[in-house]
C-alpha cells in the first residue's frame, strides 16, 4: 500500500456507507424540522374527518380522530430516532464495559460475565421486552431502558474477543511493566483499538432498537402515547383501515421504518467491511 489507510476516506468512497448516511441524515432533518414541514398539527382532531381517504387537503388521509396522517408520519421520525439512538447507546456502552472487563480480567470474572452474555443471547428478547414493558407501563424512558438493557450481549461478545488478542500485544506489556492500573490499561490502551468495531456495532444496535420499539408499540406495549410509526400501523389494523384496503394509511409508516433501519444497517455493514479487509469487495 502506498497511500495511508484513512477510515473516513474509505467510508466516503463506499457506496453503501454514503447511501446509508444520506438516508439517516434525511430522517434526522425530518425529525428536527417536523414542526415546520408538516402541513398540520399532528394532534389536532377533527370529528368530521373520520378515516377520510387521501385528498388535496390531507395527502395521506386522516385517522379515526380526523388527525392528518402525513403530519403524524413526519412526527413519527422523532420517536424512532430518539429511542433508536438512546437504546442503542445504552446497549453499546454496557456491552463495551462488560466486554473490556471480561476479556482483560479473564479467569472467574470472564467466566461469569460470559455465561451472563450467553444467557441474554439465548433468551427470547422480544418476549422478555413485551412482558417487562407491559408491567412497567407506557413511558419513553422505560422503553429505552428495556431495549438497551436487553440488547448489550452481542456487543460484549465481540469486544471481548478483540480484547483477548489485543492484551497479548507489546504495547499492553509495556504499560504493565510501567505499573499502569488494570482499568487505566483497559480504557486508555485497549479501548482506542476496539472503537472501529464499536462504530459498526453501534449502527446495528440502533437499527435493532428502532425495529424493536416499533414492534413493541405495534403489540400495544411501550410508549403507546407518543406519535410513532409502529403506533400508526397498529391504528391501521385496529381501525379496520387495513382490511378496507387503505394503502395510504399503512404503506408510508412501514416504508419509513424500513428506510431508517436500512440506512443504519448499510452504514453498519459498510464500516464492518472497511475494518475487516477479508470482507472488502475486490476492486479492479
Amino acid at each position: 500500500m502506498t497511500e495511508e489507510f484513512s477510515p473516513w476516506r474509505e467510508f466516503l468512497s463506499n457506496k453503501k456507507a454514503v447511501a446509508g448516511l444520506v438516508i439517516v441524515l434525511f430522517f434526522t432533518f425530518l425529525a428536527i424540522l417536523a414542526p415546520i414541514v408538516s402541513p398540520y398539527n399532528p394532534d389536532t382532531t377533527n370529528p368530521s374527518l373520520f378515516l377520510s381517504p387521501p385528498s388535496k387537503a390531507h395527502l395521506l388521509g386522516t385517522n379515526t380522530l380526523g388527525q392528518d396522517l402525513l403530519s403524524r408520519d413526519i412526527y413519527g421520525a422523532q420517536i424512532s430516532l430518539i429511542v433508536g439512538i438512546s437504546a442503542g447507546a445504552v446497549a453499546v456502552v454496557i456491552g463495551l464495559i462488560a466486554g473490556l472487563i471480561s476479556g482483560y480480567m479473564g479467569g472467574a470474572i470472564d467466566e461469569i460475565i460470559m455465561r451472563i452474555v450467553d444467557f441474554f443471547l439465548v433468551i427470547p428478547a422480544l418476549v422478555f421486552m413485551i412482558i417487562i414493558a407491559a408491567l412497567l407501563g407506557p413511558s419513553l424512558v422505560n422503553v429505552i431502558m428495556v431495549i438497551g438493557l436487553l440488547s448489550w450481549a452481542p456487543t460484549a461478545r465481540i469486544i471481548r474477543s478483540m480484547v483477548l488478542s489485543l492484551k497479548e500485544w507489546p504495547f499492553v506489556e509495556s504499560a504493565k511493566a510501567n505499573n499502569a492500573g488494570k482499568f487505566y490499561i483497559m480504557f486508555t490502551h485497549i479501548f482506542p483499538n476496539v472503537t472501529s468495531v464499536l462504530y459498526g456495532n453501534t449502527m446495528l444496535a440502533i437499527s435493532g432498537a428502532i425495529f424493536t420499539q416499533a414492534a413493541l408499540v405495534f403489540l400495544g406495549v411501550g410508549n403507546v402515547n407518543s406519535i410513532s410509526w409502529g403506533g400508526i400501523i397498529r391504528e391501521a389494523y385496529t381501525s379496520g383501515a387495513l382490511t378496507a384496503g387503505d394503502f395510504a394509511y399503512v404503506v408510508p409508516p412501514g416504508v419509513f421504518i424500513f428506510a431508517l433501519i436500512f440506512g443504519f444497517i448499510m452504514m453498519g455493514f459498510a464500516i464492518e467491511e472497511i475494518m475487516n479487509p477479508r470482507l472488502r469487495s475486490i476492486r479492479e
Partner: protein, 324 residues
C-alpha cells in the same frame, strides 16, 4: 472423561442454570407488580374478607415468599402453570396446543429460509464483487430491514384486494371437513401468507451469514490447493468450501433463535395464527398474567433446548472441539 463429554456436560449444566434463572426471574418479576392477585382475578367488590383469606390460602399466597418460590419452581417443573384469568381453565391446557401451532409455522419457515439463504449466499460469495453479489447482498439487507408486522399487513391488503388467500386464523371458521385431506388443504391455504412473511424476513439474515462465512473459507489455503490440483469450480465450492462454511452457520442460527421467535410472534399476531405469539399478544390485552408467565418460561426453555441440540451437533461435526 473425554473432551467431547466434558464439553457437552458443561453445556448441559449451563442450560439447567439458565432454566432455573429464567423461572426465578419469572417469579420475581410478576411478584413485583402492584395489586393483589386474588382481587385482580375475581374483580368483584362483593368479595368478603373471609373469602379473600380462603382464596389466598388455596393459592398459597399466605405463605412466606421463599416457600412460594419453591412451590412455583416445583409446579413449573411439573407443568402446572395455574389457571388463566381470562379463559378460566388451566394454563397448560391452553399453552401446549398453542406451542404446537407455533411450530407448524416456525419450523417450515426456518428450514425454507435456511435453504434459500444457503443457495443465494453461495451464489453471492462465489460471484463476490460482481453485480450479482451487490444485488443479493442489497436485497438481503433490505429484507432484513422490513418490519415483520408491516410486511404481513401488506400481504393482507393484497390478498383481500385479489381475494386469493385467507388472512386470519388456521382453519376456516365453522367449516366441517369431509376428509383429512380437505382439512389439510384448508390448513395449507391459511399457512401460505404467514409462512411467506416469516420466511422472507428470516431469509435475508441467513443469506448474509452464509455469504460472509463462505468468503472467509474461500480465502483459506486448502481452497487454493484444491484449485491448483485442477478441481473444477463447482467441485471446490460444493465439496471443499460449503461444508466448512456451514459449521459457523449452525451456531449463528442457534444464537439467533431468539430473533426468529420474535419474528414468529409478530407474524402470528398479524395473521391471528393461534400460536404462542398470538397467545402472548392476547394475554397482554386481557392482563392474563398466568398465561404470560407460562408463555415466557415455555418459549425460553424451548430455545435453551434448541441451543443445546445445536451445540451437540456443532461439536459432533467439528472435530476441533471433539478432540481439543
Amino acid at each position: 472423561m473425554n473432551p467431547f463429554h466434558k464439553y457437552i456436560s458443561r453445556r448441559v449444566i449451563f442450560a439447567v442454570i439458565s432454566v432455573i434463572a429464567i423461572i426465578s426471574f419469572d417469579f420475581f418479576l410478576f411478584r413485583l407488580m402492584p395489586g393483589n392477585p386474588i382481587l385482580l382475578d375475581y374483580r368483584s367488590p362483593a368479595l368478603t374478607k373471609t373469602q379473600i383469606e380462603t382464596l389466598s390460602k388455596q393459592f398459597g399466597l399466605n405463605l412466606p415468599l421463599w416457600q412460594q418460590y419453591f412451590l412455583f419452581m416445583k409446579n413449573t417443573f411439573e407443568g402446572n402453570f395455574g389457571i388463566s384469568i381470562f379463559y378460566h381453565q388451566s394454563v397448560s391446557s391452553i399453552i401446549f396446543p398453542a406451542l404446537e401451532n407455533s411450530l407448524i409455522l416456525l419450523v417450515p419457515a426456518t428450514i425454507l429460509a435456511i435453504i434459500l439463504g444457503i443457495l443465494t449466499g453461495k451464489l453471492a460469495a462465489w460471484r463476490r464483487g460482481t453485480s450479482v453479489d451487490s444485488a443479493v447482498t442489497g436485497g438481503s439487507m433490505a429484507l432484513y430491514s422490513i418490519p415483520t408486522f408491516w410486511l404481513g399487513g401488506i400481504f393482507i391488503l393484497l390478498a383481500i384486494k385479489t381475494k386469493t388467500f385467507p388472512v386470519s386464523g388456521m382453519y376456516t371458521i365453522g367449516e366441517v371437513f369431509s376428509s383429512p385431506v380437505a382439512e389439510f388443504a384448508d390448513l395449507l391455504d391459511h399457512l401460505i401468507l404467514p409462512l411467506a412473511t416469516l420466511t422472507l424476513v428470516l431469509y435475508g439474515q441467513f443469506t448474509i451469514i452464509m455469504r460472509n462465512s463462505l468468503i472467509d473459507v474461500l480465502q483459506e489455503d486448502f481452497i487454493n490447493f484444491a484449485k491448483s490440483k485442477g478441481a473444477s469450480d463447482s467441485y471446490v465450492l460444493n465439496k471443499h468450501a460449503v461444508p466448512n462454511a456451514e459449521l459457523p452457520m449452525i451456531s449463528i442460527i442457534a444464537v439467533n433463535l431468539g430473533l426468529t421467535v420474535g419474528g414468529a410472534i409478530l407474524t402470528e399476531t398479524v395473521f391471528s395464527w393461534p400460536g404462542i405469539g398470538f397467545l402472548i399478544y392476547s394475554a397482554i390485552n386481557a392482563r392474563d398474567y398466568p398465561v404470560l408467565e407460562a408463555a415466557f418460561v415455555i418459549v425460553a426453555i424451548v430455545i435453551v433446548l434448541a441451543n443445546i441440540i445445536a451445540d451437540i451437533m456443532y461439536s459432533y461435526l467439528d472435530p476441533r472441539i471433539r478432540y481439543q
